[in-house]
Point group: C2
Chain length 407, copies 2
């Protein structure tokens, strides 16, 4: 039923997007301002960082979404607009720029910023660029691509995903763009993820759907354990697919949730694989846990372990670090039942059975761990609980990128 498709944030009916260089960043080749617009007012929901230090855009967006509706997203990169005395004013100013050009009330605009914390953000480059940005809004894959590029910071590739699905016989589409790379350890949301869908769904069901979804998607992903001050995932649902509006948790809701999960998990993989300095995507699959919470805790702990991430960078089958990370995860497990395998398109190697090491070929392990995507498969031997977490290795480049990020 669910089919991946092209077009990212513009895949769903009635959405246009654009991204330009307006001058927030010094590099003129780099787009730094994105705009996403729905033809009509849409049900809207968002989840935000749990960091106590919150970017000004988060506070403004929360207010704007209080009524459950929105029509546009404006987002700049290069400056987080966080810990600035005039931050709220600037974020409100960004939403008014959209109002001035597109006749969308500023209260229906989602505002987001990403970049350095604690440097004043000047509105003037955005004032100068908003005309070009609005006039260039495009409905196709190009619009999505420009917007996806404009929200990138240290990302090396843009992140887009979309799929089609059916609700009550109507073909619906959901798609999105995301940015990640560093300060990625989401808690109640992720770095920046913008989603659009033409499915008709009430604001409350929309909020419910993303709140449920992130438990198995963005909450299960980490690049560096640092929860950003500006994390935000937002979704606009404009109803243009013509399905009967989803207002409760029946079959239609489940179909929507499944499609949503398909897009968010795809974006998770993309963010983790493009983590700052990453050379490898690490997918940790835990099965046999007593319950889902245990599986989640164990999987997340493994992909967050600095030591294990370094071992993966070096293609070193140091499975003791996997057990160590499970051990401090607070997940209640029986160490004597833990099995560990490493797998990739280079093959499979079993390294631990019943909590103890078993003989394996170091040469074979090296081959398995030299692939670009590594599966760490952990069996806990206790029950039906399963979970997957996405992470990346820790390389010299992470240190390089973050040793001098501001200058």
């Amino acid at each position: 039923m669910i089919q991946m498709t092209q077009g990212g944030i513009c895949a769903a009916k009635g959405f246009k997007a654009n991204g330009i260089h307006c001058g927030i960043r010094k590099n003129k080749e780099k787009r730094d301002l994105a705009l996403i617009v729905s033809e009509c007012r849409a049900a809207a929901a968002a989840v935000y960082t749990t960091n106590l230090v919150k970017g000004a855009p988060i506070q403004v967006t929360k207010e704007h979404l209080a009524d459950g509706y929105a029509q546009a997203v404006i987002c700049n990169s290069g400056n987080a607009n966080t810990c600035n005395a005039d931050g709220i004013q600037i974020a409100e100013g960004m939403s008014r720029l959209v109002e001035s050009k597109l006749c969308i009330p500023s209260g229906d605009v989602i505002v987001a910023s990403t970049g350095v914390i604690g440097q004043p953000l000047n509105l003037s480059p955005m004032e100068a660029g908003i005309g070009e940005l609005a006039e260039g809004l495009m409905a196709g894959p190009e619009g999505s691509a420009h917007a996806a590029e404009a929200i990138m910071t240290t990302d090396t590739i843009k992140k887009e995903a979309a799929c089609t699905f059916t609700v009550g016989g109507k073909l619906c589409t959901i798609g999105g763009i995301a940015k990640g790379s560093g300060m990625i350890h989401p808690n109640m949301a992720t770095m920046l993820v913008f989603l659009t869908t033409d499915a008709a769904i009430s604001p409350s069901m929309l909020k419910e759907a993303i709140t449920e979804d992130i438990q198995d998607s963005f909450h299960m992903m980490s690049v560096d354990g640092d929860t950003s001050t500006n994390d935000m995932l937002s979704i606009l649902a404009n109803g243009m697919a013509g399905n009967e509006k989803i207002v409760s948790k029946g079959d239609d809701y489940r179909a929507f949730r499944e499609a949503l999960g398909t897009v968010t998990k795809s974006l998770c993989r993309a963010i983790a694989a493009d983590g700052e300095g990453a050379t490898k995507l690490i997918v940790c699959k835990v099965s046999g846990a007593a319950d889902k919470e245990t599986a989640r805790a164990a999987a997340k702990s493994v992909i967050c372990s600095t030591l294990f991430k370094c071992a993966m960078f070096g293609a070193d089958a140091n499975w003791g670090r996997v057990l160590c990370a499970i051990g401090y995860s607070k997940a209640p497990v029986d160490v004597k039942k833990i099995d560990v395998d490493f797998a990739s398109d280079g093959g499979r190697v079993s390294v631990c059975r019943g909590g103890s090491g078993i003989p394996f070929s170091e040469e074979e392990a090296k081959r398995v761990l030299s692939a670009e995507e590594i599966q760490v498969e952990i069996g806990l031997g206790e029950g039906p609980g399963e979970a997957t977490a996405w992470g990346c290795d820790l390389s010299y480049d992470y240190v390089k990128i973050n040793g001098d990020y501001r200058t």
Copy 2:
């Protein structure tokens, strides 16, 4: 009253130590087996890792200390004796080696191991070396130095500390050795810390003293956020100073606690400064917190932030990462009251007042942050709560060391 002194683990009366190369490690230049012995049976206490995966030596030591007394410590490096099917047997075997040579009952021997997890540990090199190890026991600084070297893994310098103090008119001494470097994020104990004192103190007061002490010492230190499977801090108190035995929390106990804290904090600094790949010691001092717990949470979160550690490596005054880390620490703070200064022997630079950035000279900041010890001073503007945490920067070498640790 408290005076730092030489001699580390042998500084207190009645303690001898030694460390030799017995053959667990391939490098013949590297000592790999340590022995610490008290002339008489001593009150003893220990705290251990909270990791659910525990090294076999931890389990054996717990049993041996159940009665509150011990007389010797044996510790090897190069192999953690963890996740091995025959681990308990090997750890018991190590304690019996001490019994066989020194007539100390194996039940009075503290056993510890550090190194790779999940590789079988062979008793035979230790059997072959125990004679030389026992015969070479020395009372002076040389004995402490040899033992301190023998417990090192990726440490680049040995860690010793000792001080004298007075209890009821009697001069007492407390000293110790430690090893750290990687997998350092202690929780209820630290990597490996062995302490000795000639003060007379009951086992229960001794346990109380170390349990209290670690909250402000080893629990406030982190190298990489990975809590080891083999963390252990143990202390032997042989009473040879002749003071009236400390059996309750009076002045004598407080004098002992102060001396204990002097030694443990000194070892904390040494472990953090010699963290794997570290080029800088980071000391984070939080003041003005509503209470001590808030101060601890904020200070610990800052020194644990991967992003902040990278910024320190690059001497980049990226104070936004300090605020970000306080924000996700779960410490209840008012962001609008946070002040941040950086200081070192290169000077002082104020970067944040009331939660917002203030202008500062990047050149001056670079000079301050290029020192070998950086103070991060955070004011929370709310109350009398204070805490200090010790960490280090994250460098290319950490990744290098841990990308291929086993081979």
